[in-house]
Subunit: 122 residues, 2 copies
DNA sequence: GGTGGTAACTTGCAGTTTGCAAGCGTGGTT
DNA sequence: AACCACGCTTGCAAACTGCAAGTTACCACC
């Protein structure tokens, strides 16, 4: 995956195309955090999975380039910004919910997400 | 990801755990092919995305180690085998369906999957 | 005004993974 | 024997990952 966020589709298959955007170990973890209210670089870093800072910065850049998230300044001195999901990014919720359902049924050690997350609608 | 298929969970989050198994560019493409009737090494290779042979072999090994697919001999002379989804692997169908719905709505160039795939139940 | 702290990154670098191409092993076919 | 098919394995350069350390921009205290 190129650093500049450009991705050339390998086929028109919707599954393959989706995977080219978010098919890696970290992107959907970031989307999960955004869906559960986290907004800032440091908050993503604090998640239990422990994403490295350079990977986080690269993924945020790519997700922004793909239009799934937006960077917004929330104060100017010192310059700080946070990230929010676009409508397109939020629409990934059902994918994550299905992953949770699958994992809870088939991977015994996984946590049950809060009801508010599982019932939530895009 | 270790070559031997062993994966140590980074957290109990069902999303992160799922991504550790199938969160890469190829695994779910293989599951897609299996769900649409493909069974053999050569058939996976022939998919339009063009997975390299060594990656395909590694992913099949990992999916088998994870219990998502099973290797079955279908003839003994010459020795040949194919792969089928286990119930656990088939249960990923809803995840793939949601990815298709998302992609069809948000990525303009993607194909619409056949109705039989989208309506299918696990 | 120097020291320290916070937030958001960037950089360096070794180790791992990817992807292309080529080769291998088993056995059928001619 | 020569050739082919299938299912891989191997070699290798390039790309990516993850850890640690450094950077930038400011604020706050002493």
């Amino acid at each position: 995956m190129a650093e500049d966020g450009k991705i050339l589709p390998r086929s028109g298959c919707p599954i393959a195309a989706t995977l080219e955007l978010v098919g890696d170990r970290w992107s959907l973890v970031i989307v999960r955090d955004l869906l559960t209210g986290k907004r800032r670089f440091g908050e993503f870093l604090a998640s239990p999975e422990g994403i490295p800072t350079n990977i986080l910065a690269a993924r945020l850049k790519r997700l922004e380039a793909a239009g799934l998230i937006e960077k917004r300044p929330y104060q100017s001195r010192p310059p700080r910004h946070d990230y929010v999901l676009t409508a397109e990014g939020e629409a990934l919720l059902p994918v994550l919910q299905e992953m949770c359902r699958w994992a809870n049924r088939h991977l015994p050690e996984t946590w049950t997400p809060p009801d508010s997350f599982m019932r939530r609608k895009a």
